[in-house]
């Protein structure tokens, strides 16, 4: 919750890039190994757990205003996929 509150004023505008998302994750209290998190690496393969997924999605929703539904979660499993999804929704 701390990380969410800390980033409430962080607004992302398109085009969103993987490095912006990576910077956002770096500020979170997460167990993700950022060295392993390449643009096409599934978050789970970089060590993300349920809390990390929840925090990433929550922060992204807050920063972009884009709602990521349960059906969309599978599509946003990497930085590249997440960025493509957000840019498509925000364009």
């Amino acid at each position: 919750m701390d990380s969410l509150a800390a980033n409430q004023d962080q607004i992302l505008v398109p085009p969103i890039t993987p490095s912006q998302i990576r910077a956002l994750i770096a500020r979170m209290d997460s167990v993700i190994d950022l060295d392993k998190l390449k643009d096409g690496t599934p978050f789970a393969d970089a060590g993300a757990d349920s809390l990390d997924f929840f925090n990433i999605i929550s922060e992204i929703q807050m920063a972009t205003g884009v709602i990521i539904s349960d059906e969309d979660i599978e599509q946003v499993n990497t930085l590249n996929n997440l960025v493509a999804f957000l840019n498509a929704r925000m364009s």
Binding site: D49, S50, L51, F53, F54, N55, I57, E71
Partner: protein, 366 residues
């Protein structure tokens, strides 16, 4: 792309939910089982009310839906001195592993909590490894489960090792040797200052002892589940498929104690509930003396209890630590925390602060 929906549990889900829960529990405990009767007992018979329950479903290729996850809040009546509180324990919270990267369980749980938190003063979880995740939902607490065990006053470690051998090789000669060993432990045990009165579940439920016990004990018991006869009957005495013995004692001056012991396993016993009132170290010492001898005489090699690390007054914890042992590798084991969430209603009732909780863990998964 998988499609999901979430909704409130309905009675027609009982069978499927129970089946799915058993499946997921068997991933860690291959022998785990739970009857539909027991599930219904837990869901509908608690004195605090029915379980608040939600399911997650995914759509099958043929258009039908199947349950893949669940969140439940089981009402448990608590007291804190004169205050009556209604708390809720998370029960049967799961998402099938193959959906854990496809569905945001925490968002679902957050929605469930938002829907139900006004019904409860607090919610808490006894499941292992959930504290980090639940902090994101507002759960707090540094308290952790502390397993303690007693095997023998003189040969504790040897008895412990032997009990594990008997446990793993449950054949008659080993069990008989275990009982003989326990009888030896009984001869060397400290002589207790009293003998327990032993009740069957039915006798306990109807006894005079429990008719007013909680009125006396609640004043000094801290924040803890209520122990009226109705609560104990639901948690233990009338629980389908259970095998509990209730031991009670009343001292001449009015002090009282009881223990409820799970005797399902012939060699390894578990204390599932225990209250000494007033909570004095000398009384607890006497209770443990009587309990250890009772256990050894019955032929069991070990008796265990799970306490929260901060739930008991320090002077009682000192007695537990002196008389019982933690696991030899406890310091290397991950901390099993007990996350708690104080709702706005509970904040108002308790004046904004979360008191220490005095709870014991039943080593039987709900």
């Amino acid at each position: 792309m998988a499609r999901f929906r979430t909704r409130r549990f309905e009675p027609t889900d009982e069978d499927e939910l129970n089946q799915r829960y058993v499946e997921i529990m068997r991933m860690n405990w291959p022998d785990f089982s739970r009857s539909l009767d027991l599930m219904r007992w837990l869901w509908y018979q608690a004195p605090g009310g029915s379980v608040e329950s939600w399911v997650i479903e995914t759509e099958n290729p043929d258009g039908s839906w199947r349950i893949i996850g669940h969140h439940g809040l089981c009402p448990v009546r608590f007291t804190f001195g004169d205050l009556d509180l209604l708390c809720a324990k998370t029960v049967n919270t799961f998402l099938l592993p193959e959906f854990r990267t496809k569905f945001l369980y925490l968002r679902f749980e957050q929605q469930c909590l938002a829907e139900a938190h006004s019904h409860f003063d607090a919610t808490y979880s006894n499941g292992p490894g959930t504290a980090r995740m639940r902090k994101a939902l507002g759960y707090t607490g540094t308290d952790a489960w502390l397993p303690l065990e007693h095997c023998s006053d003189s040969l504790d470690l040897a008895t412990k090792l032997f009990s594990r051998v008997v446990h793993r090789v449950p054949r008659a000669p080993f069990t008989q040797m275990g009982r003989a060993w326990a009888a030896g432990c009984a001869m060397s045990a400290r002589k207790p200052s009293f003998e327990w009165t032993e009740y069957s579940p039915e006798e306990a439920r109807q006894s005079q002892f429990f008719s007013d016990f909680w009125q006396q004990a609640r004043t000094t018991a801290g924040m803890t589940p209520r122990r009226d006869a109705a609560d104990l009957a639901w948690r233990f005495w009338q629980r389908p498929g259970s095998n509990f013995v209730t031991l009670v004692h009343e001292w001449a001056g009015g002090a009282r104690a009881y223990c409820i012991v799970d005797v399902s396993h012939p060699i390894l016993y578990y204390i599932v509930d225990m209250v000494v009132t007033p909570p004095r170290p000398d009384l607890l010492d006497a209770v443990l003396d009587a309990l250890f001898l009772w256990r050894a005489r019955r032929g069991a090699l070990s008796i265990s209890i799970w306490l929260t690390s901060e739930g008991q007054p320090p002077e009682l914890m000192e007695v537990f630590f002196r008389r019982m042992k933690t696991h030899p590798l406890q310091r290397f084991r991950p901390r099993w925390e007990v996350p708690r969430y104080l709702s706005p209603r509970g904040r108002e009732t308790l004046g904004g602060s979360m008191p220490r909780w005095n709870i014991t863990q039943m080593m039987i998964p709900l």
